[in-house]
Every structure is written in structure tokens, then in C-alpha cells.
């Protein structure tokens, strides 16, 4: 694994009027081939500006972006397109173009003035189509595709450029969860199989934590933090970057939890799927779940998951009631609260 894209003392931002508006500075980071990296950060931290600067779309305010040992600004647009490809959020408004032709546009930096494909180009286009798994879409018109299918087609097109680096700017936004999972796994596989460096900016913390080789976290006004996901969780990098008054990153589960106003403590006995979802329901309603025995309220789960489940509520040590759904459980707890 070698460094393909390197940022040196990079300051990114945009020029407004006479001055420049610095969004993030002092960025020292590198992308290696075969690696799938996710860039995370709260809204307004400058993910998009950073990613567009790394892709050579924006100019840096200072510092360098180095691709294959050369500053990115030294490449002609054609040479750059042979090394670096991009996938963006916006859906292109082409209706009457077959998927194959759109993927074939990825051969743009290699073809002659007419854009006609050589047999070799055609083969590369098919390889890209197969790598992304959209063979059955190849003859369809782009206008007929769903959002998820269209993004896959755009990725195949980016792959047909045979890049060393593929940069995706929130390319999974607007997709439903299964489609997003599919794309994350696809990108990780492409990075490995095609030995390219893949950088994706995303808001999908959970998926990034589970699938990225490295994470870059860009906190608002801070400097970029780089590391493998688990290290960053343990170092508290997520909490530092994303926490705000109502939302807290829970290191144990690797997800964000909302701090609801607390209605008190509840002890919970029981494991498995029922345990997980009972805990979720209690948390959502605003109860803090503890394991201590001497809580004023205790809930015992019995039965398998599914229809036979039962929740026994104990008040101190006295059994209070037995309910058969979480909805009933929450209602009971609520009415007990009101009575007290």
C-alpha cells in the first residue's frame, strides 16, 4: 500500500469578496491505494470544501495536494481525469442515454475527438459495469433508473476512468438504508479489488464505523483527525466532533443517543433481542436503564422473542403487573409515575 494522494499543510476555504474564508487548516493526511476511507464531520465543518479541494475542483488557499508525487495543479485536466475520478450528490438530468453510454463517458480522457470507443475501451467499460454489478441495467435508459441504481452507474463510470483515486462527495445521500449499505460494501470491495484509494464523505456514522478502513473526522473549526475507526472511538474523537447538548456519542454502542429528560431509573433483567429492544424503548421514553437490584422499579423479561414475550413490572420487591407488549409496558410505567 502506497500513498496515492497526500495533503501537505493544506488550508481549504473559499474566496469571498477580497478576503478568503478559511474552513479548515493544517491538514496533513494521506490516502493509500486499496484503502476505503470515510470523511465524517458535522454540517458546516467543510467536508465538501475539503473533498472538492482534494479532487482538484477547488483551489487550496495554501498548502499542496499531491497526487502520485506531483502537485495536483500541475496536471492537465485530461491527465488528472486519468488518475482521479469523482462521484457527486446531484442527479444528472440525462433522460435518453443508455446506461452503457453513460459508463462509457468514463473513457472520456482516453478516447479521441469523437469519443468513439476502441475494443479495449469497450472491454474496460464492461469490466466497470460488472465490477459494480449492474450488467442487467446496461441497456436501460438513465432516466428510468432509481436513485440507488443511478449512483451505482455513476460509480461504474468513475471506475471506467481507471483512476488511482476515487472521491465521492456524499454520494450516498438520498438513498434508503439497504441501498446505502450496499454502496458502502461495494466501495470497500472496489478499493480492495481494483487497488484504488476510495474517499467518501458521508453523514452515515454507523456504516462508516463498520466498513471503512480509516476514518477522517473533520470537527467544526478544528483540525482533521485520522485513524482507524475503533481507535477513534476509544480516543473520544467522535464525542469531541459531534456532541451537542441533546445528542451524545455512546462509545459502548458506537451510535448517537439523544439525552431525553430523565423520568427516573429502571432496572432491567433479561437479554437477547427482547433485552435490546426493551432497553431502546425505555431509553426513548426517557428512562435510564441500570442493572442495580435496588432500583425502585424493576422489569423482568420472560419468554422468547415474538408472541409469547412477557414483561413483569416490580415495584420495589412487590410484583406489580405483567404486560405483553412494549407499548403496554410504557403506558403502565407512565400511569405508575402519574399515580406517584
Amino acid at each position: 500500500m502506497s500513498d496515492v494522494l497526500v495533503a501537505r499543510r493544506l488550508t481549504v476555504g473559499y474566496k469571498s469578496g477580497k478576503g478568503c474564508n478559511v474552513v479548515a487548516e493544517g491538514i496533513e493526511v494521506s490516502l493509500k491505494s486499496g484503502e476505503f476511507v470515510c470523511l465524517l464531520g458535522p454540517n458546516g465543518a467543510g467536508k465538501s470544501t475539503l473533498i472538492k479541494t482534494l479532487a482538484g475542483i477547488h483551489r487550496p488557499i495554501s498548502g499542496d495536494v499531491i497526487l502520485d508525487g506531483m502537485p495536483i495543479s500541475a496536471f492537465s485536466s485530461q491527465e488528472l481525469a486519468r488518475r482521479l475520478s469523482v462521484v457527486l450528490t446531484d442527479r444528472p438530468a440525462v433522460g435518453l442515454m443508455p446506461v452503457f453510454s453513460l459508463v462509457a463517458l468514463g473513457r472520456y480522457p482516453y478516447t479521441g475527438w469523437t469519443g468513439n470507443l476502441s475494443p479495449k475501451d469497450e472491454e474496460i467499460v464492461w469490466e466497470a459495469i460488472k465490477a459494480v454489478g449492474i450488467e442487467d441495467l446496461a441497456g436501460r435508459l438513465v432516466g428510468e433508473l432509481s436513485d440507488g441504481e443511478r449512483q451505482k452507474v455513476m460509480i461504474a463510470r468513475a471506475l471506467a476512468q481507471q483512476p488511482r483515486v476515487m472521491i465521492l462527495d456524499e454520494a450516498t445521500a438520498f438513498l434508503d438504508l439497504p441501498r446505502r449499505v450496499e454502496l458502502f460494501l461495494l466501495l470497500r470491495r472496489l478499493a480492495r479489488e481494483s487497488d484504488i484509494a476510495v474517499l467518501l464523505s458521508t453523514h452515515d456514522l454507523d456504516l462508516a464505523l463498520r466498513s471503512a478502513d480509516r476514518l477522517w473526522i473533520l470537527p467544526k473549526g478544528g483540525s482533521l483527525i485520522d485513524g482507524i475507526p475503533e481507535d477513534l472511538v476509544l480516543k473520544g474523537a467522535f464525542a469531541a466532533a459531534f456532541n451537542c447538548s441533546d445528542v451524545v456519542f455512546d462509545n459502548r454502542s458506537g451510535t448517537f443517543v439523544f439525552e431525553s429528560p430523565s423520568l427516573g431509573e429502571v432496572a432491567l433483567e433479561g437479554n437477547g433481542v427482547l433485552g435490546v429492544w426493551t432497553r431502546r424503548a425505555l431509553n426513548r421514553a426517557g428512562y435510564r436503564v441500570i442493572s442495580s437490584e435496588n432500583a425502585p422499579l424493576k422489569i423482568e423479561i420472560s419468554g422468547e422473542d415474538g408472541s409469547k414475550a412477557a414483561w413483569r413490572i416490580y415495584c420495589g420487591d412487590r410484583p406489580h403487573q405483567c404486560v405483553h407488549s412494549l407499548e403496554e409496558l410504557l403506558r403502565q410505567l407512565g400511569s405508575m409515575k402519574d399515580a406517584a
Partner: protein, 360 residues
Amino acid sequence: MTQSSESFVLPASMSVPKNQPLRWFLLGVLLITIFLLELCLGSVMIPLRDILLSFVSPSDVDEKWREIIFVFRLPRAITAAFAGAALGTAGLQMQTLFRNPLAGPYVLGINSGASLGVAVLVLTAWNLGLPAFFAKTGFLGNMAVVLASIAGAGTAFGIVIAFSRRVQQSVTLLIIGLMIGYISNAFVEVLIQFAVEHSIQRFITWTFGSFGGVTWIQLRVFVPAIVLGLLIAVIMMKPLNALLLGEEYARSMGVNARRTRVFIISGSSLLAGAVTAFCGPVAFIGIAVPHLCRLIFRTSDHRVLVPGVLLMGAILALTADLIAQVPGSRAVLPLNAVTSIIGAPVVIWVIMKRRQSLEV
């Protein structure tokens, strides 16, 4: 996933419908037919036999007919064919550059600039006592209108191209073009307010558009200008395809966005400017023809569409001119009335027929 790449052999043919060659052949036949009809029909009918004969052995054809064919109808048909091809091609390029299905050859304000140029000449010349001069030298008068139009179109083009170097996104140019149009029209209105009646009549006649009155000598300027503009469009086919995905994607695939924009704007301005200079602001062909071609060829690929709009534009312009001349009568309809009456339903039909045609 286990299939080998040899099992996929259809790509090139897949991007276009299978009976594509037949469509090209039919369009070609249609163009030749309408071109010949344009020579045959008019206030006087000339049989097809005599038309063909006049090219082979002119001495066998009635001298009056020969004059009608060579002095009037042939230059007119050539003008219509080239103007139609030019407007269709310019419209296609503007629709793709701005990713806007309603864009046409005149969105950059080229025709408004031209009309201001012509208005200045025609509307103020009368006040300056030049009508006698115009009346005496009909040819020079015509040429003066062409030059005024070129000057106006050139000024508008200069303003747009100056801005195009400074703006990030092409869409901004669309707004600048629109504003140039408003400003030009404002000046034209002021000029009309203070002009005498015959000069207003003459100016309004110019705004109706016409493929007639272009002489062989003028064609020596007109045709090469259009051919140059069409060549630029042919060279731009590949970047135009990339631009279908938007400017950022195009740039990421190696398109030099600014240079491409300057080329496309210059080429289409040349096409639109030349047509406006010699034929007046011919409406609607430039918007309708690209949509019609997308519908016929079912593709957004400019390698098909550029030759397509060229043929289709020529066909539509000739058809409109044929109708405008009301064959068999002495009456002549304003060309723009005819192009709009044909063009608007075409656009509506295309839009109703295919939702995706709204996308470019």
C-alpha cells in the same frame, strides 16, 4: 458475474435504435423532396422536369422560369436549408450547455443585440434623411441591414464572452443573456417611439424573418459562416456529451470547462448571429428541432444529435418557408408566424409524448 466479456457484444448498437440507418435515409429523402418542392412551388408553379432540366441544359428552359429559379428560388432554398441547420445546431448546444430544455439559439441575447443594431439603422436612418439613398440602392440597403445586425449581434456576443471568463457557472450567463435582451429591447422601444411610420413598418417586417432576398454574393459570406459554426459543433460533440452530466462531472472527466464554454458560445453565436443578420430573428426552429431529434433518434448522444438537428433543422426551415409562401397565391405570410405555429405544437407534442425529453 461469471460471464466473460466476449458474451457482451452489443454495446455500440445498443446506444441507438436498431433501424437507425433507415431513419437517416428517410430524413435525407425528405430533405431533398422539400428542397425540390421549394424550387417548384411559389406564386408560379414550375414543373419538376424543368427544374431538373435547368441544371443540366439551361437553354431548354423558359428564360423567365430560369430567372425565377436561379435568382430567387435557389438562393432562397439554400438560405433556408443552412439557416435551419444553423438554428437547430445552435439550439441543441444551448440546451445542453445550460441543461435547459427551453433554451434556444437566442438565449444569450445575440438576436436582441442584432435587432438593436438593425433598429438603430432603420429607425434613425429615416430621420437622418437616408430613405432616398436606400430606395436608390436596394442592394446596399439590404447589405447595410446585414452589417448593422452583425454589429449588434457582435456586441452582445462580446459582452457575453467577457462575462463567461469571469463566471463560475454557465447558468449565470443565461441570466446575463436575458438581461442583455431586456436592455436591447428597451432601446428598441425608445427608438420606435421617436421613429417615423414607414421606418417602423420596415423594422417590423425585418422582425418577421425571411429567407428571401439573400443574394448569391451574400451567400458567399453566409454559407461559410454557417459551415464554420457547424464544424465547431461537430468538434464539440464529445465535450457536449460530457456536459450532459453537468459541469462539475464534465470537468472531473477531463473537460476543460472554460475553453469548452467559450467554443460552444462562440460557435452558436456565429450560427445564430449569421442567421439573424441575413434572415432576421427566425423564431422557434432552434428550440423545436433538438426535441424533435431526441424523439426520433431516442438518444441524448450528440454524435447522433448534431447531424440529426442539421438535417431536421433544414427540413423544418424549408417546410416553414414553403407554407409561408402560400404556394399558388401571391400572398406571403410572416415566416415567424409559420415557424411558431408549427414549432409550438411540436414542442408540446414532444413534451407530452416523453417525460424524459424535458431533460436534455
